[in-house]
């Protein structure tokens, strides 16, 4: 056999044509012994002449050859494989033609019985030979073509480097959804490089954060590594420092000591989300807890369990009461779910601390409006309030936090609550980088976009999620989409579609999405839900909450782990292991003392 041409892609259309030619040639060869045995008459109604039979046979041979060429194709140096594939094709073609199509066309209907197979056995042999020759022929013909027209075959690697760069800032729901959709949309386009920059290397499933804080879920189980879920995206764990929109470059710093890296972009997606907004209240930045990151959740959990440990040995009654008083500011979803979870955790584990009086435990929710959960209807909100009150949670409605000290929170009605724990869920603001951008911003500080999520006045900057102010095209003038996870997810996917359209020179489409529903979990097997106008409460709503959020949790593995956590939670008590012992003032001199001695 002759030397093989170099490996390289075969131009489109060559394989089917070569297959058809090879099929025709193989058919001609096989027709000789077939004619000699009188196997040519097709036996179809009206056609019994050998000439018609031969013509039909050759046409079919060419068609089968073309199909084989398309499916199996050319394999460099693969004559054995191609011949083997041809034999398989021949045998399958026999089953299809002689056992199935022919009886169907001649009116008998296929029986696939052995008699039929025996009767058409000569064709089986013919098809085996045909298949082998077809495979060999296809291989040789394509090889000849490639040798004859080497110039037609593009060799070597494609153009160096990507020609289009898309940079996504932020690894939350919006950013990851955008990257995933871009991977899908641009799967074949090797000239486009998508880079995602995030200060966390995992997508955190925030709806389950309260359950991590309350020790019923393992922290890692609710977050999915970005690298694993985005195999086709370049990932950078770095903090965004600045964006130069004129030069179209993002500066990102991987660690405080490292130099900032410049990431040029052709399209930029801002999906940085938000950070807590303490509204400048004194003491909050120093003493308040947040619930935005995994670190916040595990820190809060350690703090609460550590306080119980301290309270168990605390001789001062006032201090002990402060230690077992837990205050949450903000009566939205995050705050309501958190206060319920905290109460479940503390009430559930207090029996391990025999010197603590369960009656001393206090849970207080401070909320500025008259009713909690303003996103839910009044009925469900009232239901939630009742359920939480049944748990023994105190509400300070129509009240705001005025200031926070290490040992008490001051409220704007002049009262104060002695506590060592205040969790702030009462306000967020867009990521501080937004403030450095030369774009118009909304009242909250989010970047103002048009309905297609394009940042005002640009064609290459897009924004989604909590850091974007996106108008609802179907709503009244000035109505913005709310900053929720379900919106961020859809906005991310929609912005990816719009960028893919822009790359193809088509205009972007406005984002339209109607809120599917709202679900709030109120601790142990209690929840309230409003889905497309239908209201649910109690156990049903709780099952809905778990079902829906489990389905939304990214990654099959994490779903299984969370499901296992929840199941085990039914049979085993909550864990009170301290993974980080809180530093107490008393232990510091001891450490310092040791350090001195060692020095």
């Amino acid at each position: 056999m002759v030397a093989e041409p170099a490996d390289g892609p075969v131009p489109r259309g060559v394989e089917p044509v070569a297959g058809a030619v090879a099929g025709l040639l193989a058919g001609l060869v096989v027709a000789v012994p077939q004619s000699a045995q009188g196997m040519m008459a097709p036996g179809l109604a009206g056609f019994t002449s050998d000439a018609v039979g031969l013509g039909l046979f050759l046409v079919l041979s060419a068609l089968v050859g073309a199909a084989f060429g398309t499916v199996f194709g050319y394999r460099p140096r693969g004559y054995a494989a191609t011949m083997g594939g041809g034999l398989v094709a021949g045998l399958l073609w026999w089953v299809l033609r002689s056992l199935t199509l022919q009886p169907l066309l001649t009116g008998g209907g296929p029986t696939w019985a052995l008699d039929a197979a025996t009767a058409s056995f000569p064709f089986l042999i013919g098809d085996v030979l045909f298949g082998g020759l077809l495979g060999l022929g296809l291989h040789l013909l394509v090889g000849l073509f490639l040798r004859a027209r080497p110039a037609a075959v593009p060799h070597g690697p494609p153009a160096e480097g990507p020609s289009t760069r898309i940079v996504i800032l932020g690894g939350g729901f919006g950013g990851v959804a955008a990257a995933q959709e871009l991977e899908r949309r641009l799967a074949g386009a090797t000239s486009v490089e998508v880079t995602l920059v995030s200060d966390s290397n995992a997508l955190l499933f925030t709806p389950m954060l309260a359950e991590v804080a309350s020790s019923s879920l393992e922290p890692q189980h609710i977050s999915t590594p970005v690298r694993a879920s985005l195999p086709g995206t370049v990932f950078r764990r770095a903090e965004v420092e600045s964006v130069d929109t004129a030069a179209r470059v993002v500066l990102a710093r991987p660690s405080p000591a490292a130099p900032a890296e410049a990431l040029p972009y052709d399209h930029l997606v801002l999906a940085l989300g938000g950070v807590p907004n303490y509204r400048g209240l004194p003491g909050l930045a120093e003493h308040a807890f947040d619930l935005k990151t995994l670190e916040d959740a595990t820190g809060l959990r350690n703090h609460v369990i550590g306080l119980l440990e301290r309270a168990d040995v605390e001789p001062d009654a006032d201090e002990r009461r402060r230690q077992v008083t837990f205050v949450v500011a903000g009566g939205g979803f995050a705050g309501s779910e958190l206060i319920a979870e905290l109460s479940d955790l503390v009430v559930g584990v207090v029996r391990y601390f025999p010197r603590l009086d369960p009656a001393e435990l206090r849970f207080v929710l401070v909320h500025s409006q008259d009713r909690i959960l303003p996103e839910l209807g009044p009925q469900l909100a009232a239901y939630a309030l009742d359920k939480l009150r049944e748990k023994g949670i105190e509400f300070r409605l129509g009240t705001r936090v005025a200031a926070l000290r290490a040992d008490a929170v001051e409220l704007d009605d002049g009262t104060e609550v002695g506590t060592r724990t205040l969790v702030w869920t009462a306000g967020n603001q867009p990521h501080p980088v937004m403030g450095t951008l030369p774009f118009p911003r909304s009242r909250s500080g989010a970047v103002s976009c048009d309905a297609t999520m394009q940042v005002g006045g640009t064609t290459d900057v897009w924004a989604v999620g909590d850091c974007a102010a996106i108008p609802d095209p179907d709503g009244d003038e000035g109505v913005l989409y709310p900053p929720t996870a379900q919106h961020a997810l859809r906005q991310g996917a929609a912005v990816a579609r719009n960028i893919a359209r822009a790359l193809r020179g088509r205009p972007p489409q406005p984002f339209r999405f109607r809120t599917l529903g709202m679900l709030v979990v109120l601790g142990h097997q209690q929840a309230a839900a409003e889905i497309r106008g239908l209201r649910f409460s109690g156990l049903v709503a709780w099952l809905l909450w778990r079902g829906i959020y489990l389905a939304k949790l990214p990654g099959l593995e994490k779903k299984i782990r969370v499901l296992l956590d929840w199941t085990l939670d039914l049979f085993f008590p909550r864990d009170i292991v301290l993974t980080q012992v809180p530093r107490t003032p008393r232990s510091e001199p001891v450490l310092a003392d040791r350090g001195e001695r060692r020095a």
């Binding site: 030397a3 494989a81 398989v88 045998l91 296929p110 197979a117 056995f121 042999i125 085996v128 195999p231």
Partner: protein, 490 residues
Amino acid sequence: MNRTAAPSALWTGAVAGVAGGLVFGAAMALVGTLPTVASLVRTDSLAVGFAVHLVIAAVLGAGLGMLVADQRTGAGESLFWGLAYGAFWWFLGALTLLPLLRGRPVDWGVAAAEAAFPSLLGHLLYGAVAGLVLVLLPLAGRAPPGPRRGTAAAVLRGSVAGLAAVWLLVSQLAAAYEPLALTVMQAAPRPVVVAGTALLGLAAGCGLALLYPRPADGAGPLLIRGMAYGFLLWVVVALTAVPLLRGAGLAWSAGQVRDGFVTLPSYLLLGAVTALVYRVLDGAGRVLFAGPAQRARRAEGEGAGTRGIRAAVRGALAGTAGGLLFTVIMVRIGFLGTVAGLVGGTSTTTGLAVHLVISVLIGASYGLVFRRQTYDPASALGWGVAYGLFWWVLGALTLLPVWLGGEPQWDAAAAAAAFPSLIGHLVYGSGLGLVYYLLEARDSPWWRTRTQSEALRVARRQEQLQTAAPAVWVVTLVLALIIPVILAAG
């Protein structure tokens, strides 16, 4: 292949061909077909006939050498290329060219094929021997096959796998169907039968381990290879060695093979189950003892649990599609009522439900063992159809009759009656394979070059093409279509 390697491939192929020709020639001498070959040169001398035969064998062997020179080396690879090559030459040589050269009309009818059945077996043995010898010969531009590390461990695994397979078959099926029992030991005392079957299992397992010291591809492809290997074992042991040992001469005529057909399914199952157990042992070893570095080399991104569930779900979907195709045939041949018998019913609706449930289950098992083994529609069809044949043997011929309260339907007449079901299983397999491939391609496009790791994976899949996979498909289909038709014709 480069030009310098080509002459070397020709010569080694010719030598291997002569080795195969010696075996084939000895068999022809026993059967008495050498004069046919001698008549090619217008003589009836046996010596001349043998010489002519050897020359042909050398020339064909050179062709085999050329064909597989660019394929991956290894006994398990060239064995199947040899088998497929031998089978192809039976069609081209024995049934077509030989009559032409002798000036006789070509006859492709079943009767002629039946008469040439000994020649088919001879061609298969010829190809197998030539393929195996080819591995042992040094070839220019290729490292000589040195001693491999881990062969002893592989043989140990193979022995365990063979014994386990025999035990599984004997314990699950009636003792009368022990692979050897029907041909040699019908009257032998029980311990002799047990020892004989165990020995067969041991030999089968060791042989498989030597063919595949380190199975490269997944459990599914190895299962199919094992089934084809079981077919070869049947030819070598049941049709050749055992009759020779009993002094009865070769049992190669169609009539004798028809009587021996009843042992074929047990050999197929023995080979398939041995291969599966062997692969599972190997895989378990890798899972339990592989260090993080080795794991990272084989990393697929997700853990075994995630990808297993995903593959099973996809397989179940694909199985539904294949099952619907099969339903068309089931309805036409009126088989749904029989299937309903599995749950004690008789109605067509019950039968349809049972049939679909079985389709889904087999589909899920396909997903598990053929995950990421199909890289294009051709391999999807090849593995799918082969898996369909496996389930015809295991399901339609074995489990279904046993669960319906009878015995396995392994004799030639029963297999002939179940021929429509065979076609149905092949159609099911093709639908299953294709849909599974499409689902896998749609959901996780692992061969697309998006990043460097993806490019590496593509290279690995292309490498799989260099294995004997296409030859295995050919052998499987020949086994599925040719053997039953010829044997049942009598």
